[in-house]
């Protein structure tokens, strides 16, 4: 069976786009082939800086013949409809159509269309130009003479040549005949830009890949990565160092070379006085080089590893020297930044935050820091943190954002704050909290362990979440510009890993109050007070009320007003609808944030491969806002439901619920209230009633002691009684009173299980 080889040869494709482009090419071509009835055995695509390549093997030489029935108009339909049908079906006259009987709707014409399959190569020649013209590059461009014309071809960078061959292994393949924007497909390509620039001819994938290799091009990106990684490790090892692996950098670098040549350079040891992370960021981000560790000290060594694209005539000496020069200049800058930063104390940077807007609707960074400090101080006692240290840490936590080093390398925020804090003699807990308050940033990130760090990390996240909910900037779909999902997940992980007892609604309320107070106090006068008095809308600028604000009772009144009603905020003192927005009331925020947390918890459990449907079953209970308890309860419930007792009890409870639902609907009433013991007839009824009483009491006691395992164990006792009841007792007894009583008993099963979870929310 024939194979297809396709190569699109262009100027340098951005490294970050290569992998997806190769995938897209394979998918687009194979999808289109399959849609044309050309199924294949296998397909693989590749990318280098200058080419996308695709090989598809095991294609048929021809499309299968197609037989298709096309339904036409009714017999006796108007001439226009008949002509339209004939044209669409490609028939000369109605004699070529058959008539299908339909006694209900009337007989109609049917055309039998037989389409002979075309040679695959012709189909491919049609498909590929369309794919090239509609290729989904993130950014595409026009070039050259043809760019003056409308509809000019767009590609990521100028496209130079196309290889497209099709044929059997044993034969000379044919060139697929097509052209795109004047580029005619052929079988000629080129090797490495500098080492083998000459053109050469290829037949099919096997010789294509081999000839490219001879022409100093490693086609397969994975192979280039393997080479780089292996050579870099070996080079480091040979000099007594250890490569610091970096997958993101490896991916990028492998997209910058067709022929990777790994070399090692060094820099002056005196630069090692700069924190290792800064050296690494400098060398990585600006120079795309790897750094190495000295295994003896575990610290960064004064070496770097670069990946060149050529085997230089001097063995790479000039390349190393050139890179060393650039890295020296970069590190000099970094060292200068670092040393400059050390000259200013972190607290002396605070005043600058007055002039930096955090978010137009949420005020300045200074206001944000003040809120976080107060909230962290409130949280501190709950997590066993020293209040003064916590306040200090919260006050300094964001100051490194104003340093030169963090300005240059945002990824070292927090970390630099710690270094600068330690350098100015701050308490180690305070310094650590500056680094850790951003954490955890993801499932694999370190979770803060020092109570001071925990308090500040919680306060930072809660303040952010509540603030953005207040101004109604929640994440939607894939959009989450303020990383609010990450903040919520981080909070969950903190609570879980550090076993923190925290009432979510109380914390949200605490944060909300601080936001609301700032709205009143910040004195920028952008808050418009609106109130309906005796049916009239009364509005006033807060500055007019400033005197009233000195009156703490009036101020509390404002605060209460915002808490319960929310308000309208006018930006920049302008009273216009464009410059104003709604500030949500506290209840709405808490009601909306809790389900958001439930969703995050579900996502997290799903990612851990645990049951996530149980989260709803637990959150459906009243007053669930202690995250740790929710998590523990979900865990215990999950374990219980894995046992036979659990599964059967769930089935029994669901059965009870279903029966109740039907009967409640029938009778248009509920069956609340305790069943009447005197109306019990069967032993199983009595036993069930007894079991429910016992289990309810035991489970509630256990829950009160936060022992969910024990609560579940108690639940298990309910199972035999429920099973026996459904086995022996007919709920819908002929005696209406007995029936009602039994329905009440069923309702009690449901009620009893609610001691641990709402079973109706659990998926089977």
């Amino acid at each position: 069976m024939p194979d297809l080889l396709l190569e699109l040869f262009s100027e340098e494709i951005p490294a970050r786009m290569q992998a997806k482009a190769a995938d897209d090419l394979r998918k687009m071509v194979t999808d289109k082939l399959v849609a044309e009835g050309l199924v294949y055995d296998g397909a693989k695509s590749f990318a280098t800086p200058r080419r996308l390549a695709l090989t598809i093997h095991g294609l048929p030489a021809r499309q299968p013949d197609l037989k298709d029935e096309r339904k036409g108009p009714k017999v006796g339909a108007p001439e226009a409809a008949v002509q339209g049908f004939l044209k669409a079906a490609g028939l000369k006259s109605l004699d070529e159509a058959t008539i299908q009987k339909d006694p209900k709707k009337g007989d109609f014409y049917v055309a039998l269309i037989e389409k002979a399959g075309r040679p695959a190569i012709d189909v491919i020649a049609e498909i590929i130009p369309v794919i090239i013209r509609t290729f989904p590059w993130p950014k595409a461009m026009r070039w050259g003479e043809l760019s003056a014309k409308p509809g000019a071809l767009q590609w990521v960078r100028p496209l130079h040549s196309i290889v497209a061959t099709f044929g059997m292994e044993t034969e000379e393949p044919d060139v697929v005949a097509f052209d795109v924007a004047g580029i005619k497909a052929g079988q000629v390509t080129r090797g490495h830009r500098f080492m083998a620039p000459a053109e050469f001819s290829v037949r099919r994938f096997e010789d294509y890949e081999a000839k490219l290799f001879d022409a100093k091009v490693v086609l397969d990106p994975q192979r280039r990565k393997d080479i780089i990684l292996a050579d870099a490790k070996e080079l480091a090892f040979a000099q007594g160092f250890e490569l610091i692996e970096d997958q993101g950098l490896l991916d990028e670098v492998s997209g910058l070379v067709e022929w990777p040549v790994v070399l090692m350079g060094s820099f002056d040891e005196s630069f090692l006085s700069i924190p290792g992370e800064v050296i690494r960021a400098t060398i990585r981000n600006n120079q795309k080089c790897f750094v190495v560790n000295d295994p003896k000290t575990g610290k960064l060594a004064n070496r770097f590893i670069l990946v060149a694209n050529i085997e230089a005539s001097d063995g790479g000496a000039a390349i190393i020297a050139g890179n060393e020069r650039v890295i020296r200049a970069r590190l000099s800058d970094a060292k200068f930044f670092y040393e400059t930063d050390l000259k200013t104390k972190l607290e002396d940077r605070l005043p600058k935050f007055d002039g930096i807007v955090f978010h137009e609707k949420l005020g300045t960074q200074a206001e944000r820091i003040a809120r976080i400090e107060r909230l962290a101080a409130e949280i501190a006692p709950l997590v066993g943190a020293d209040v003064e240290k916590t306040k200090r840490a919260a006050r300094l936590a964001k100051t490194d954002l104003l340093t030169e080093v963090v300005g240059e390398f945002p990824e070292v925020q927090g970390l630099m704050g710690k270094y600068y804090a330690l350098a100015q003699g701050e308490d180690t807990s305070v310094a650590q909290a500056i680094e850790d308050h951003y954490k955890p940033q993801g499932p694999n990130d370190r979770v803060p362990s020092d109570p001071v760090a925990i308090a500040v990390a919680l306060a930072d996240k809660i303040d952010t979440l509540v603030g953005f909910w207040a101004i109604d900037e929640k994440p939607t779909g894939s959009k989450d510009p303020y990383a609010l999902r990450r903040a919520a997940l981080g909070l969950i992980k903190l609570v879980e890993d550090r076993a923190l007892r925290l009432s979510l609604s109380a914390s949200f309320m605490g944060a909300y109050k601080l936001h609301a107070e700032q709205l009143i106090d910040d004195g920028r006068g952008y808050y418009l007070y609106e109130k309906e008095i005796d049916g009239d809308l009364t509005a006033g600028w807060l500055p007019y009320c400033n005197e009233a604000l000195n009156d703490s009772a009036r101020r509390d009144e404002f605060l209460e007003e915002i808490l319960s009603e929310g308000c309208r905020v006018y930006l920049n003192g302008r009273i216009s609808d464009e410059a104003s927005f709604e500030w949500k009331n506290s209840e709405e925020i808490i009601l909306n944030l809790l389900p958001f947390f439930a969703d995050r918890l579900k996502v997290q459990l799903r990612e851990q491969g645990a049951r996530h449907d149980l989260v709803d079953a637990v959150f459906a209970l009243e007053g669930q806002d202690d995250l740790l308890m929710v998590v523990r309860r979900v865990e215990a419930l999950g374990k219980f439901l894995d046992t036979d007792d659990g599964k059967n009890l769930l089935a029994g409870t669901k059965r009870a619920s279903n029966i109740l639902a039907i009967e409640e609907k029938k009778d248009k009433r509920t069956f609340d209230g305790a069943p009447d013991a005197s109306l019990f007839v069967a032993d199983e009824e009595k036993q069930l009633a007894h079991a429910i009483d016992e289990v309810k009491r035991e489970a509630s006691d256990a829950v009160a002691k936060e022992n969910f395992e024990a609560a579940m164990a108690a639940m298990a006792k309910l199972r035999p009684a429920v099973d026996a009841f459904f086995d022996k007792v007919k709920v819908n007894d002929d005696d209406a009173k007995v029936r009602e009583n039994r329905l009440k008993l069923l309702n009690e099963i449901r009620a009893a299980t609610r001691a641990v979870a709402d079973f109706s929310k659990i998926q089977d």
Partner: protein, 309 residues
């Protein structure tokens, strides 16, 4: 190269490097222009690039452009940063199919051997908010150092480029430091002579860097500059308005003088920015005002003879 006297070799002298590039691009069909006689932030602002990139006519030009970035002044104390430096600018419209090869050969002409050095095209998309312009291209790296910018203009002054022009910008000081093997820009050999006859980059420009840094950061008269910005903006609009032939919008007769005022406004804004008297929010609105001027100039240009009418 052998016939070139030693003091004119690109690896020996700054001026030799410039003259070699000029010679190379002249040999490849470019008109060699002289710098534009106004203060600009980059070679792109020269009307030979900004305006000539627009319209259907072929245009190949190369020139040195002194470029001013008031904020980059370091009082002559930083070995790499200058508030006044030279760019070598090449504009080829339409972009020829072998433009990358032409560029690489120009590097060879100034002594960068592609068999010895690691030359790379690393993604770098170019955008100029003040000019309403964007393009796709690369930073060109030589052994890890950025030595040029390479851009296929897609849009300039708010007008689609048809055809697309290729723009090459060489950072001359950086390139010279590289080929001369010098660590500090002020140590560059300017004239390629040795001993008493040697003139360094520092001899030529160090005092200027010190003086202009003082000026840019401390003393530039902001009241005057604010006024100049407004005047340039007003004049630009006035000339644009007056330039429409017979008041009809089909032919423009004064696009170039109007564009001068746009350049002026842009540079004045850069000075005000360096003095730190423009707030973050105002900054955006100033950039927008310059862009509006640039767009209006582009619109006028494509209604001139050189613009394709």
């Amino acid at each position: 190269m052998d016939s070139t006297p030693i003091h004119m070799r690109p690896e020996r002298s700054f001026q030799g490097l410039i003259l070699t590039l000029q010679r190379y691009w002249a040999d490849h069909g470019c008109v060699i222009l002289q710098p534009y006689d106004m203060e600009v932030g980059a070679g792109t602002f020269h009307p030979a690039t900004t305006l000539r990139a627009l319209g259907p006519r072929h245009w190949n030009a190369a020139y040195v452009q002194p470029s001013r970035r008031p904020k980059d002044g370091r009082y002559g104390e930083n070995p790499n940063r200058l508030q006044h430096y030279y760019q070598f600018q090449v504009i080829l419209k339409p972009s020829p199919p072998d433009i990358q090869d032409l560029y690489l050969k120009s590097l060879a002409a100034i002594g960068v051997d592609a068999g010895l050095h690691d030359i790379r095209f690393v993604e770098d998309d170019w955008e100029s908010p003040t000019l309403g312009a964007w393009g796709l291209g690369w930073e060109c790296w030589c052994d890890g150092m950025e030595v040029s910018q390479f851009t296929y203009f897609q849009q300039v002054a708010g007008v689609e480029c048809a055809p697309v022009a290729g723009e090459l910008t060489y950072g001359l000081e950086r390139l010279a430091m590289y080929v001369q093997g010098v660590e500090n820009v002020y140590d560059l050999n300017f004239n390629g002579r040795e001993g008493a006859d040697k003139v360094t980059y520092g001899d030529v420009f160090l005092q200027a860097e010190q003086e202009y840094s003082r000026h840019n950061f401390e003393h530039a008269d902001t009241a005057m500059l604010f006024e100049q910005f407004k005047m340039a903006e007003g004049a630009c609009r006035k000339y644009l308005e007056a330039g429409w032939d017979g008041g009809k919008k089909d032919r423009h007769l004064m696009a170039l003088p109007a564009y001068d005022q746009c350049i002026k406004a842009s540079h004045v804004f850069n000075l005000l920015d360096a003095r730190g008297v423009i707030s973050v929010t105002e900054r955006q609105s100033y950039i927008l005002r310059v862009r509006e001027l640039a767009k209006a100039c582009g619109e006028a240009w494509i209604h001139t003879e050189a613009g394709g009418v």
